[in-house]
Amino acid sequence: MNVPAIPMKAMRDTFLLSVYEAMLQDSDIFFVSADFGSPVLDKIRADRADRFINVGIAEQNLINVSAGLALEGFKVFAYAIAPFITMRCFEQIRVNLALLSEVRPMNVNLIGVGAGYSYVVSGPTHQCYEDITLMRAMPNMYVMSPADQVLAAQLPMRCLQNNGPKYIRLDAQVLPVLYGNALPSLDDGFQTHRQGEKVCLLATGYMVHTALKAAERLAAAGISVGVIDLFDLSKFDETKLNAEFSTYHGVVTMEEGFSGRGGLDAMMFDHIARHGLTLPMLNIGVTGGYRFEIGERQTLHEQVGIGVQAVVDKVSRFSQKL
């Protein structure tokens, strides 16, 4: 029997649909947008108008109003384009969410849409290559980075069940479904998609899809690599991940963010050092600086060293040295 096909949707819309359904049951949920929408958001605006607020193009106020609502006991989803909700208002996040939540119970969830290059033709203002670094810099910020719409739909419940400040980075494009048959364990924080022999590709967000494509090409070239989707960048099960690592000779981090600037790569350097692992690592992230070229996402990715072919080439060379 065929499994019914899952309609192609942006992860933003499945996430918001779960928020909408939760809002129907729970009158303590508030949704605050910085003049940013989606078709599903229209349902929230229509059916839960009393708990939907558009603060306008004002991200500093988005955070501060969300903090004030959270202090009054509301569970808040704050919604905007990823670079704006993380960078325009960084100090509001630091002071009124990260610092204040150490003293007061607060539940504020920052929903950033447009991870990496997902606003393909909009250029570097709307693209986002620094958010993992910046959000992880705050020790109590819980960062989640799903790679498909099915998992994204599960995250609102996790947000509602966990107090504290959180950042959920969502891709703006419609991506292939990874979890059509079975959901990953949210407590594990990662899911193995492919077992390999020599090298493990540890990717987050969109780069999981790149990793799966690269793994196919590498397999055709006789290089067997595994692929892990690390979707929880704060609370993944370190022991279980180490068990996965133990079968490999090397690990490759893959992120749609600047390389060597404190993102997933730094996180895994820290992980490997803290656990005393002897595990050679290759870090694949955006190389070079800011660029203004227009093109398809894959083209832009190849230009900065994170496209499928770039990954195949880098992993091939890395694999030969192991």
């Binding site: 306008g56 501060n64 903090a67 609502l69 002071v95 610092l99």
Partner: protein, 278 residues
């Protein structure tokens, strides 16, 4: 748990303000690293709020839901709140001996680990937006609690305030009152010579607020009248009270001095000012 609102007569509050002024100088004498000038301008504002019957409070349970919220956005300029909070029973007056000392919860810039402080303060331009969110939340819950926010005028150079002012007016947050400690001096000089606010009252009005000015900001009676006026205001608008104050009030050499923000008072000067009241 029920709260109380402390209510003194105008004369008693004016005397209380003098006491707070003295206690603030004593703290500064013990801890010269504190910012004293900006803590002397809002003394009468705080005394009126906390002793004038405007705040329902529960010092034994500072986070009591029935309290009226008071956010002190110009946190570093609120040293004078320490004696007030101790006097009201939020914590022991003995703590005032240890401001800025190792192990104390009373720092140079107050944090919400201090009973009676709602939010993280001192980094400027945060209080109005957070207060607006609280006011919105209170309205959503059908609660009649009020939110007061104290800002400095120098602080209003931060654009985040103006985002919040527009927001509060848009949503008719008439349970929000902003008091501006308009001492007209920020760190490097008079705000008029840095970036002038021109007329703050006019600005508030254009932004959709019900605004009033208190010209004599060290008069408890004048502040009390303005806050009473706010309380009976049925315009449906958020309310602003621009209080003209003097930075470093009543301290020779400090009062209205352009660099008073970073100026410490010499110990012998404090002794002279306090005379026999130590």
């Amino acid at each position: 748990m029920t709260g109380t609102s402390s209510t003194l007569s105008i004369a008693d509050m004016q005397a209380k303000a003098r006491w707070v002024w003295e206690e603030t100088l004593k703290i500064h004498k013990r801890s010269p690293e504190t910012r004293v000038a900006s803590s002397l301008s809002p003394v009468e504002i705080f005394v009126t709020l906390y002793y004038g019957g405007f705040l329902r409070q529960s010092p034994a349970d500072p986070c009591w839901r029935g309290r009226d919220r008071c956010i002190i956005s110009k946190g570093h300029g609120s040293l004078c709140m320490y004696p007030i909070l101790a006097d009201l029973g939020y914590f022991s007056a003995d703590e005032l001996e240890h401001v800025c000392k190792e192990g104390s919860f009373l720092g140079g810039i107050p944090d919400p680990v201090i009973p009676g402080y709602e939010t993280v303060n001192g980094s400027l331009g945060h209080g109005v937006g957070v207060g607006a969110g609280m006011a919105l939340g209170l309205k959503q819950r059908g609660m009649d609690q009020q939110v007061y926010v104290l800002t400095g005028d120098g602080e209003l150079h931060e654009g985040s305030n103006w985002e919040a002012f527009m927001f509060a007016a848009q949503h008719g947050l008439d349970n929000l009152t902003v008091l501006v400690d308009n001492n007209e001096i920020s760190m490097l000089g008079h705000t008029d010579t840095i970036v002038s606010h021109r007329s703050l009252v006019s600005k508030f009005e254009v932004f959709g607020w019900s605004a009033r000015e208190v010209e004599t900001g060290h008069s408890v009676a004048a502040i009390h009248a303005a806050l009473t006026d706010c309380r009976s205001d049925r315009s449906g608008k958020p309310k602003a009270v621009v209080v003209r104050t003097r930075k470093g009030n009543q301290v020779p050499g400090l009062e209205n001095a352009p660099l008073s923000h970073v100026t410490a008072i010499k110990q012998e000067v404090i002794d002279q000012l306090l005379g026999g009241c130590q």
